[in-house]
Amino acid sequence: MNIFLKIAKWQIITIILVAAGTYCRAALAQPIRVVATFPDLADITRQIGKNLVSVESLATGVEDPHGVPMKPSFVPRLNRANVLVVTGLDDEHSWLPALLEVASNPKILLGQPGYIDCSVGVPVLEAPTRLDRAEGDLHPKGNPHYLLDPTYGKIAAQNIAAGLARSFPQYQADFDKNLKAYLGELDNWISRWEKIAAPLRGVKYVEYHPEWVYFANHFGLKRVGSIELKPGIEPTPNHLVELVQQIKQEKALVLIYGSQNPRIPQQLQGETGIKVLRLYTSAGARSETDTYIKWIDYTVRSLVQAVS
C-alpha cells in the first residue's frame, strides 16, 4: 500500500512538473503581442519582429489619422498588448489617450518600455512658432506625417527595433539582423523612388490638410496652398476664391486629398482644371498598399503618373 502511495505521489509530482513545463514553454513560445496605431507602423514592426511578433493595427488606413473612431473594441487589444507602437507627435491625441485610460495595461503607457514612439529622432517640420488656436488645430510638437518621407521610415524602423529590444532584450540580435535587412531594402527602394520621382521636382501642388510637407521636401514638390483655412478648419468661401486664383497664377498641377470629403477638391478641379488625387496618409487604405514600401511606391507612381 505504501509503495502505491509513493508511486501515486511521484506520478502527481511528475504530472505537475510536466504541466508546468508545458505551460512555461507555451508561455515562452507565445509571440510578442504588438498593437500599432496605423497599418504602416504595423507592417514595419512585422519586418523587424518577423515570427517573434504578432501585430495588430487599430486603424485600417482609410481613416483621418486625427479622427479615428474611439471604438471600445480597441480596449481589449490594448489590454493584452506587450508593446504599443505609435506615430507620436500627437498624431493620435484625439483618440488614443482616452482608450489607454481604460485599457488597464500599465506596460504600454507613455514613458514605459512598452510604449514605442516612432517619431523620436525625426527632424520635425512645421513646429508652430506661435501656439495659439487662432492658427487652427495645431500640433504643438510639429507636423506628424513624417512617414511620407521614406528616409524617416528608416528612423521609425530603428525606433521600433530599439523599442522591441528594450522590452525583449533576449531577441535583440534577431531584431538587429532584421532591421539591417529592412534598412537595406528601404535604401534600395529609396534610390529607385528618387529616380522614378525625377519628374516631380518643382511640381506645384495643393493639399487639403497640411500632410504632404515631408514627402514634398524629399521629392522636390512645392506647396502652393491648402484647402483648409488653417489646419483642421474647413475653408470659407473667400478662402476658396483666393485658392482658385492661386492655383491659376502658380500653375499648380495636382491637388492631393485623403480621408476628407471629395466635394471641394472636385469643385476646384471643375474651376481650375487641376488634377485631383486621393492619396491616403497611411498604408492599408487600399489592397495594393498593404505594406509601408508598397504604400510609398503607390504614392510616388500615382503622383508621377498624374503630372506626366
Binding site: 485600417t60 482609410v62 473594441s73 489590454n79 482616452a98 481604460v102 500599465p106 483642421g232 478648419i233 470629403n261
Partner: protein, 431 residues
C-alpha cells in the same frame, strides 16, 4: 741647330692657327647645337616653371577659398552652437519654470438664449467649466472640473484614478460622475442636444454627480466587457433625498453596479449596450423617521454607423436609455411602493464635417406621481465651426402634464453657443 729653334715657334704657331682655322667651324657648329639644346631645355624648364607657378597660384587661391569656407563654416558652427545653446537654455528655462509641472488646464463656456412659450425669454449663462488634469505619480492621475453657473461656483468633479493596479482593476475616489447609464454621466455641454433630457433630470436628479468610490474591472474577454461597482453618499447633482454632508448608517448610502459591452457588427457598424443599477437600502433624510429602499435601474443601447473612410463628415448615431425607479415611501404611516418608467431616444445624422442634425424624444414621468408625465419632441441642428466652437439651434415641443415648472412645457426655442479654450477632455466615458 739654332735655325730650326728660331723657326720652331712660328711654325708651331702656324700649325696651331691652321688647325684652329680648320677645326673652328666644326667646333662652332657643335657648340651652337648644344646651345640650342640647352635653350630648348631652358624653355621647357621655363614652361614647367610657369606651369608650376600657375599651379602654385591656383593652389594659393584654392587654399584661400578653402580657408574662407572653413572660416565661414566655423562661423556657421559658432552660430549654430549659439542657437543650440539658446534653445537648450530656453528648454531648461521652460523645464525649470514654476509652471512646468502644472496640470493641463482648459475652460468651457456654455451659454444660450431661449424663448419659452410659458416662461418667456432668457439669456442663460449656463456654465463656465474649468478643467484640470495631470498625473499624480506613477500610480495615479487626478482631474477636476470647477463649474461656475448663474447660481454660483462649485466643484463638479475632483477625483483621483489609479493607473497601475493589477488584475485589470481601476479605482476612482472623490467627487465624480458615477458610472450610471450613458448620458447621465456626461456633462451637459458635451451632449448632442441643448438640454439634458428631462427623464434624466427627474429620475436621477441631473448628472450622476456623487461623492464616493468606484472600482472598475475590465474582463479579459476578446470583446469589450467592463464592470463597475461603486458606493456613494448619493447619486444625482440635484438629488434632494439624502443629506450629503451628514455621517449616517451605511444603509443610507447608494450602491451601484454596471455592466457595459460593445460589439463591432462590421468595420462601420457597432452596437454598445449597458445595464446599470443603483440601490439605496434606506432613503431617509437625517432626523426623519420615514424612508424606504430605492432601486434605480437603467438600460442603454447605442447604435453607431461610422464609415471609416468618411467618419469626419458622415455618420449616424441612434441612442436610447430606459430608466425604472422603484421606491418605498410612507403614506399615512403605511409603507407603499411606487414605480416610474421613463427614458429618451435620439438620432443624430452627420451631414458634413461642420454640420449635423438630429431629433430627441423624451418621456419623463414624475417620480413622486408616476401617472403624470412630460413628453418632449426636440429637433436640433448643430454647426461646429471648429472642434472648439459650436452653435446649436433647437426647437422643443413639450406636452407637460406634471406642471411642476413652467420651463418644462410648451414650445421652446434655444440657441446655444459652446466654446473651449485650452486642454479639454472628458475621456473615454464622455465619448
Amino acid at each position: 741647330m739654332a735655325l730650326p729653334r728660331l723657326w720652331a715657334a712660328p711654325m708651331l704657331a702656324a700649325v696651331a692657327f691652321g688647325a684652329f682655322a680648320i677645326f673652328l667651324p666644326a667646333l662652332s657648329l657643335a657648340q651652337s647645337s648644344e646651345i640650342e639644346q640647352l635653350r630648348s631645355v631652358v624653355d621647357g624648364l621655363q614652361q614647367q616653371l610657369q606651369k608650376a607657378l600657375q599651379r602654385i597660384d591656383q593652389l594659393e587661391k584654392e587654399r584661400t577659398a578653402t580657408s574662407d569656407k572653413v572660416n565661414e563654416l566655423e562661423q556657421e558652427k559658432t552660430t549654430t552652437s549659439d542657437r543650440i545653446g539658446q534653445v537648450e537654455k530656453s528648454v531648461q528655462a521652460v523645464q525649470s519654470a514654476s509652471s512646468a509641472l502644472n496640470p493641463a488646464i482648459g475652460m468651457v463656456l456654455d451659454a444660450n438664449v431661449s424663448q419659452r412659450s410659458k416662461a418667456g425669454g432668457n439669456f442663460n449663462f449656463r456654465s463656465a467649466e474649468i478643467g484640470l488634469a495631470a498625473s499624480v505619480d506613477p500610480f495615479a492621475r487626478m482631474y477636476g472640473f470647477i463649474n461656475g453657473t448663474s447660481d454660483g461656483v462649485e466643484v463638479d468633479e475632483a477625483a483621483a484614478v489609479t493607473t497601475s493596479l493589477p488584475w485589470n482593476l481601476t479605482a476612482k475616489g472623490g467627487r465624480f460622475l458615477a458610472d450610471f447609464g450613458r448620458f447621465p454621466k456626461v456633462h451637459e455641454h458635451e451632449l448632442p442636444f441643448v438640454n439634458q433630457p428631462l427623464s434624466i433630470e427627474r429620475m436621477i436628479g441631473g448628472e450622476t454627480r456623487a461623492d464616493g468610490a468606484e472600482l472598475n474591472y475590465l474582463f479579459p474577454t476578446p470583446f469589450f466587457l467592463r464592470a463597475t461597482l461603486g458606493g456613494y453618499n448619493e447619486i444625482g447633482e440635484e438629488n434632494q433625498q439624502v443629506d450629503n454632508r451628514q455621517s449616517r448608517s451605511w444603509s443610507r448610502f447608494t450602491y451601484l453596479g454596471r455592466l457595459n459591452t460593445y460589439f463591432d457588427l462590421s468595420d462601420n457598424h457597432s452596437i454598445e449596450l449597458g445595464t446599470s443599477m443603483a440601490y439605496t437600502p434606506s432613503v431617509r433624510l437625517t432626523g426623519s423617521a420615514d424612508g424606504g429602499d430605492r432601486m434605480l435601474n437603467g438600460i442603454d443601447l447605442t447604435y453607431r454607423f461610422q464609415p471609416l473612410a468618411s467618419t469626419v463628415y458622415q455618420g449616424v448615431t441612434v441612442g436610447s436609455e430606459i430608466f425604472r425607479n422603484s421606491e418605498q415611501f410612507a403614506f399615512e404611516s403605511v409603507a407603499k411602493r411606487r414605480e416610474a418608467f421613463g427614458g429618451y431616444s435620439y438620432a443624430e445624422l452627420k451631414l458634413s464635417k461642420n454640420w449635423s442634425t438630429g431629433f430627441l424624444f423624451d418621456y419623463a414621468p414624475s417620480v413622486s406621481s408616476p401617472g403624470k408625465k412630460t413628453i418632449g419632441y426636440s429637433p436640433f441642428v448643430t454647426w461646429n465651426m471648429s472642434e472648439f466652437n459650436r452653435l446649436r439651434f433647437q426647437f422643443t415641443h413639450a406636452d407637460d402634464r406634471v406642471r411642476e415648472d413652467k420651463n418644462d412645457g410648451g414650445n421652446q426655442v434655444f440657441l446655444q453657443w459652446t466654446t473651449v479654450i485650452g486642454a479639454h477632455t472628458h475621456g473615454f466615458l464622455g465619448r
